[in-house]
């Protein structure tokens, strides 16, 4: 039971990060129908920039409190990510808006490779550690530990998601975004500047990505030029899981994916433990005795498989995601 609760907490933390990143994917997809593969890289750049600023400020021995340092790092990261996403849309995607759907997709993958290599050049290929500014103190809930860092991540993610929903549902910008998502041509005829709306989707997504980048770096304690790839992939999986183009779906998908992954990683070792069958073979019996009765077919190194496995299962039974509607027919 404690393991279960603990894994739920871990999953919730990771899931909130996935959800924030997934929102960026789903907003862009909802409006222009593009899988922005470079979004994961924006997260990575956000993490790296924040890390550089924070380590720089610490190295300069400024008498600032830790919170201010982190906020400064976050602010710079958001600005850089927003600038990157804005120019990416303007340079790479806008000229291809009327091209066949596969062309912008390949371009997005290309952008992702470009950003990865830029990060490789700027920050090198080594893992970088995040300095411990705040030592996380665990709080115990029914025997499961939740650090204040985890709490901060979950609460902040929830606040940001709530804020995004408010913007989309209750502001003029949000109304324009919804209109553009429904039908860009008609929205344009109604006096909405579609280019501004599309840029806004990219910019908001990038700002959320920067926050997510800082979160995931603080959570794991390391950053790496390649970290955005798998994170982006999982977040996109989360967006599809919830039904792509749907904001609530992205949040639900992200949190579900995080929890499924954590539970899977926590229990796969026990579930696939073959020692229950040790009466069948002597060799197995000896092996079990040598390993404290733990011989598993699969270990937690299969963690990444769960995300995709669940995705495939869900899509078989609900081909357009949990909360989604139908998407365009062809590539």
């Amino acid at each position: 039971m404690e393991t279960f609760l603990q894994q739920i907490i871990n999953g919730l933390t990771l899931g909130s990060v996935y959800a924030l990143v997934a929102l960026g994917y789903t907003m862009v997809y909802g409006i222009i129908g593009l899988i922005n593969f470079a979004h994961g890289e924006v997260v990575m750049i956000g993490a790296m920039v924040a890390l550089s600023v924070i380590t720089g400020l610490i190295g300069a021995n400024t008498p600032l409190p830790a919170v201010i340092i982190i906020l400064a790092g976050l602010l710079v990261a958001i600005l850089v990510c927003v600038a990157i996403a804005y120019s990416m849309e303007k340079i790479a995607y806008r000229p291809l808006r009327s091209a066949p759907r596969l062309a912008p997709l390949i371009t997005a993958i290309g952008m992702s490779i470009v950003l990865q290599n830029v990060a490789l050049m700027v920050w090198g290929r080594n893992y970088r550690t995040f300095p411990t500014l705040i030592t996380p103190t665990p709080h115990f809930i029914f025997g499961a530990a939740m650090t204040d860092l985890q709490m901060l991540i979950v609460v902040l993610a929830a606040l940001l998601m709530g804020g995004l929903v408010l913007i989309v549902q209750h502001t003029r910008l949000g109304m324009a975004m919804r209109a553009t998502a429904q039908n860009p041509q008609v929205a344009g005829l109604m006096g909405i500047d579609i280019n501004v709306i599309i840029s806004a989707a990219f910019v908001i997504g990038a700002a959320l990505a920067a926050v997510a980048g800082l979160m995931v770096m603080a959570y794991y304690g390391i950053a790496h030029y390649y970290m955005g790839f798998l994170l982006g992939l999982k977040a996109f999986t989360a967006a599809v899981l919830g039904g792509i183009g749907n904001l609530a779906g992205a949040m639900l998908g992200g949190i579900l994916l995080g929890i499924i992954e954590a539970l899977g990683a926590g229990y796969i070792g026990d579930v696939s433990n073959v020692c229950g069958l040790s009466s069948l073979s002597d060799a197995l019996q000896q092996k079990c005795a040598a390993n404290d009765g733990q011989v598993s077919l699969f270990g937690s190194n299969y963690q990444d498989v769960f995300a995709f496995f669940v995705l495939i299962l869900v899509l078989i039974f609900r081909p357009s995601g949990l909360l989604g509607e139908r998407v365009a027919d062809r590539a």
């Binding site: 599809v240 498989v305 590539a331």
Partner: protein, 315 residues
């Protein structure tokens, strides 16, 4: 109309074919002047051509966006590696493994295709991508508790192609001309590639090829016209996969070493980029682009300075 007119194919065409054949025949020796590595790059170009042609069936003909195509390549490569290496001590000859590899890859193609028949567009893309990652993660981790794939270290000392005592990996001379290993592979790969190209050309003009095209253009209309869309889509996955499997087996034999690293998402994307670069679903114009583009990552990675010009010219 002279004597060539009787067969319906003018003499000029035959002359062109002969010229191309001579050029292709001499090419490995010309490339060898610049170093054996260039012959290897040519071989890679042909392996990637086979891959791109296989993916072209799925993406180009049938219009099903597949981002995990490299999984079938991996399946073919690992099938070959496991059946002809010291890993299990099995050393089957290549002409038995090639069909087995193609068959197993085909099976995986159906395995992926069957549950995803209902999916469309981007949902299909992400599921295939996930499938590719699952295969790679399994290859990476299937070394415990029972060692199948040797995990991240990969499989080493894979047998090269061998017919009797004639091995494709060693240097030998015939008729006073010295053939190195890569050059011998070149001719083998050339034959295979031409075979794959012919099969593809014939497929494109067949009843099945037209059915794929119809599905690509409008699935609902195709169904209304009496095409069994389920079977036809499954066939696209299966055929694309088996070509990938063959290419993978050949890759395994030429490299004599494989590891899960060679089968990441990035490779899938490169192959997809080749198909797009060559023009989806089209044939003649694309072949050249397809055989050029694989050179870029390979030679940029291995010998960046010397071939920068070549890359920029080819890309």
């Amino acid at each position: 109309m002279n004597n060539a007119g009787r067969t319906g194919i003018p003499l000029k065409v035959w002359a062109g074919v002969a010229l191309v054949a001579i050029a292709l025949g001499v090419l490995p020796f010309v490339a060898a002047l610049a170093g054996q590595a260039w012959v290897r790059i040519l071989n890679f170009a042909m392996i990637y051509t086979m891959l791109a042609l296989g993916l072209n069936i799925v993406v180009g003909f049938a219009g099903l966006l597949d981002l995990g195509y490299i999984a079938f390549y991996a399946v073919g490569a690992y099938t070959y590696a496991l059946l002809s290496s010291p890993q299990f001590g099995i050393h089957l000859p290549f002409w038995t493994i090639l069909p087995i590899g193609a068959g197993i890859a085909c099976l995986f193609g159906v395995l992926l295709g069957a549950p995803t028949l209902k999916l469309r567009g981007d949902y299909l893309a992400i599921v295939t991508l996930g499938f590719g990652e699952i295969i790679r993660i399994f290859l990476n981790n299937l070394n415990a508790p029972i060692n199948f794939t040797n995990g991240p270290q990969g499989i080493n000392l894979i047998d090269p192609f061998r017919i009797g005592r004639f091995s494709f990996a060693s240097t030998e001379s015939f008729f006073g001309i010295t053939f190195t290993g890569p050059q011998k592979y070149y001719y083998m790969l050339l034959l295979l590639t031409i075979g794959v190209i012919v099969v593809n050309l014939r497929l494109q003009n067949s009843r099945l090829g037209r059915a794929w095209e119809a599905i690509r253009e409008d699935e609902v209309a195709a169904k209304a016209m009496g095409i069994n869309t389920r079977n036809v889509k499954l066939l696209a996955f299966a055929m694309g996969a088996s070509f990938g499997g063959i290419a993978g087996a050949v890759f395994s034999a030429t490299q004599q070493f494989i590891s899960p690293e060679s089968f990441g998402l990035f490779e899938s994307i490169i192959v997809l980029a080749m198909v797009v670069l060559g023009g989806m679903g089209t044939f003649p114009a694309s072949s050249s682009a397809r055989s050029f583009s694989p050179c870029c990552p390979k030679c940029c990675a291995t010998r960046w300075n010397r071939c920068r010009w070549a890359c920029s010219a080819a890309c």
